[in-house]
Amino acid sequence: MFITDIRKDFYEVVANQRVALLVASDIDALCACKILQALFHCDQIQYTLVPVTGWQDLGTAFLEHKEQFRYFVLINCGANVDLLEMLQPDDDSIFFICDTHRPVDVVNVYNDTQIKLLIKQDDDLGVPSYDDIFRDDDDEEGDDSGNESDEGSEPSGKRRRFDEGAVERRIERQRARREWELFMCFFCQAAMMFFELAWVLTKDTKDMLWWAVIGLTDQWVHDKITHMKYVTDIATMQRHVSRHNHRNEDEENSLSIDCMRISFEYDLRLTLYQHWSLYESICNSCYTSCSFKLWTLNGQKKLQEFLADMGLPLKQVRQKFNSMDMSIKENLRDVIEESSNKYGMKDIRIQTFGVHFGFKNRFLASDMVHAAAALLESAEKDESNSDNFIKALDALSRSNLERLHSGIDLAKKKLMAVQQTVASCICTNLILSQGPFLYCYLMEGTPDVKLFSKPMALTLLCKYLLKAFVHSTRNKRCRLLPLIMAAPKDVDKGTVIVVGIPPESETSDKKNFFGRAFEKAAESTSSRTLHDHFDTSIIELKSEDRSKFLDALITLLS
């Protein structure tokens, strides 16, 4: 069931208890986890934190801890399946789920005792009403469920005669439920949910606010929410930021330079540009690289023209951003915005937040997201997923700056690898149109292919590739197709990881139907697949079954 008063129904319930936190592996979850940890430290609520990467992990972690804990908090996992059936918990275990995956499984919505959803109910979820799905045909139970549907109170006599009516209604119910579960998308952020809890308890701090901002930016960077939603949420965050900032304006009691300051920035969309050189950042950011088409010779020339148009000498632009001349840095944003308008890039600036503490440390929210994501999925050999989780969690604290800087370096390498792969895929025409979708397979010998065996990195590559493809192809029909990408995951076991993303369009609502499509295709061809990720559009597959799986998908979707 949905929780209405998060303070009363969640926080005060766990206040004197011991809680198990099961946290998924994405940045929003990490930020939410940090906020919750800070709250728990404040009130001395004992907890145990376990990172989970997929459904199997979740099951194992639950089995290990179910004897010792009664209350479980699941962050960014667990809402979109029937949790009670999957985990088979005892009757007194209570689950608090804060998940951004939609749709929420209907069993979770309508279970009153064990599952509490920490999700705002006024998001336009469109949950089908109880009767559309669950109402029984039997007369005995039909009338007193207190329902408010139109099918209300029919006299029992009539029901017995209208058997076809009952069958039809059942079909309706199934259809409603199927439709509800067809598309998968993301909504709201776990981090913001917990920040609001902190705010309601008046225990919010600037650190928590910053983590909430990072959670929001993560969803935008990884293209999980629409631009409209992002702007709306930025406005909400802006209110909190100005509330925290009003102390700064007091001239007499100004804060020391070491204190944390969060400021609203209308900054450039160039990834990591303050920690890199401007030139590298322009070459490796998706937006600019796709607009200029930097994988072609023409594109390179255009870039040079662009720089010349702004009057930036190449020598300045290629050196580290912090060492550029002050005279250039001062008006950089406005100058770039003006010139990019001429080159057709209308949205080069984006609303975001930046943090500033000490003399040297300035970071934008997107910098932190990229650094943490690179740490979370670093492909080192002897590091397990939980090691990476711990590293990324550490990097989000202000006291672990070296970790953050190493994350930024890893992120730079990752971005360069993504750009090079995109360029090579487009130039060698590796993207094939299979009819209802586009398909691309990364061969084993591709450089940096190990980086792309991780889901977030592969999804990022997928989105960049689709954007680049849409910019480069002349075929109008192909521009509206979704993209499926496969990359080798584990050479020894012979598995590949497959990701599907919806088509690229301005008004897309980011709904992804590949989850269901993959399931059906796997069933029909009995391919050996593993649907382990919380995000249903990412699966693992045995390489031998790849071609028949694809054929099944083609028939399914055409």
Partner: protein, 200 residues
């Protein structure tokens, strides 16, 4: 060269400067004592000769041997004393039961000394917090640094199995899991290296 072996003993302790205890060097000690005996014998005979025969040219060598004897004595006592200081630190580090590999490094007499030290420390602790009969005593080996909070956040560095805390609940310590636990429960495990205190 005289006194070499004694300095060897000192060097051995100096090499392990971070408070670790090397094994008790019985052999080395015996050799030094033998050397001291030999020097003493020689000195005795020379002194007798010098007294009876009036040979004053033996006096410098007597003086030299005497200096060596004093030096050896000083080295040995320094060796033994330093070891005792390290053993005392072990009580504060490991608690009253020493792990087997540490106990192996101590000689029998040192073990006796350790037992007596433990006893006097516990007597003292018991006498704190109310002198007359019924004083509960205070465990002064806890909280070596003033604690900032009742509960601390710890991270598990290796699989350690289960840990039971005071109210009976059991916590599973698995690698890379993080926990928020009472400080006094975690101190031992932090010292052993199973848990790591996370400061954020």
């Amino acid at each position: 060269m005289f006194c070499e072996k004694a300095v060897e003993l000192i060097r051995e302790l100096h090499r392990m400067s971070d408070g670790q205890l090397p094994a008790f060097n019985e052999d080395g000690l015996r050799q030094v004592l033998q050397e001291m005996e030999a020097l003493y014998e020689q000195n005795q005979s020379d002194v007798n000769e010098a007294k009876t025969d009036g040979r004053s040219d033996l006096i410098p060598s007597i003086k030299l041997r005497h200096c060596c004897l004093l030096r050896n004595q000083r080295c040995i006592t320094a060796y033994l004393y330093d070891r005792l200081l390290r053993i005392r630190a072990l009580r504060w580090e490991y608690g009253s039961v020493l792990p087997a590999n540490v106990r192996f490094q101590l000689s029998a007499e040192e073990l006796q000394w350790f037992g007596r030290y433990k006893k006097s420390l516990s007597c003292f602790m018991r006498s704190l917090g109310g002198a007359e009969a019924g004083g509960e005593g205070l465990d002064i080996t806890q909280d070596m640094k003033p604690p900032k909070s009742l509960y601390i956040q710890v991270r598990c560095l290796e699989d350690h199995g289960e840990l039971e805390i005071d109210d009976g609940t059991v916590i599973l310590l698995k690698k890379n899991s993080q926990h928020f636990l009472p400080r006094w429960k975690c101190e031992q495990l932090i010292r052993q290296g199973v848990l790591e205190h996370v400061v954020s």
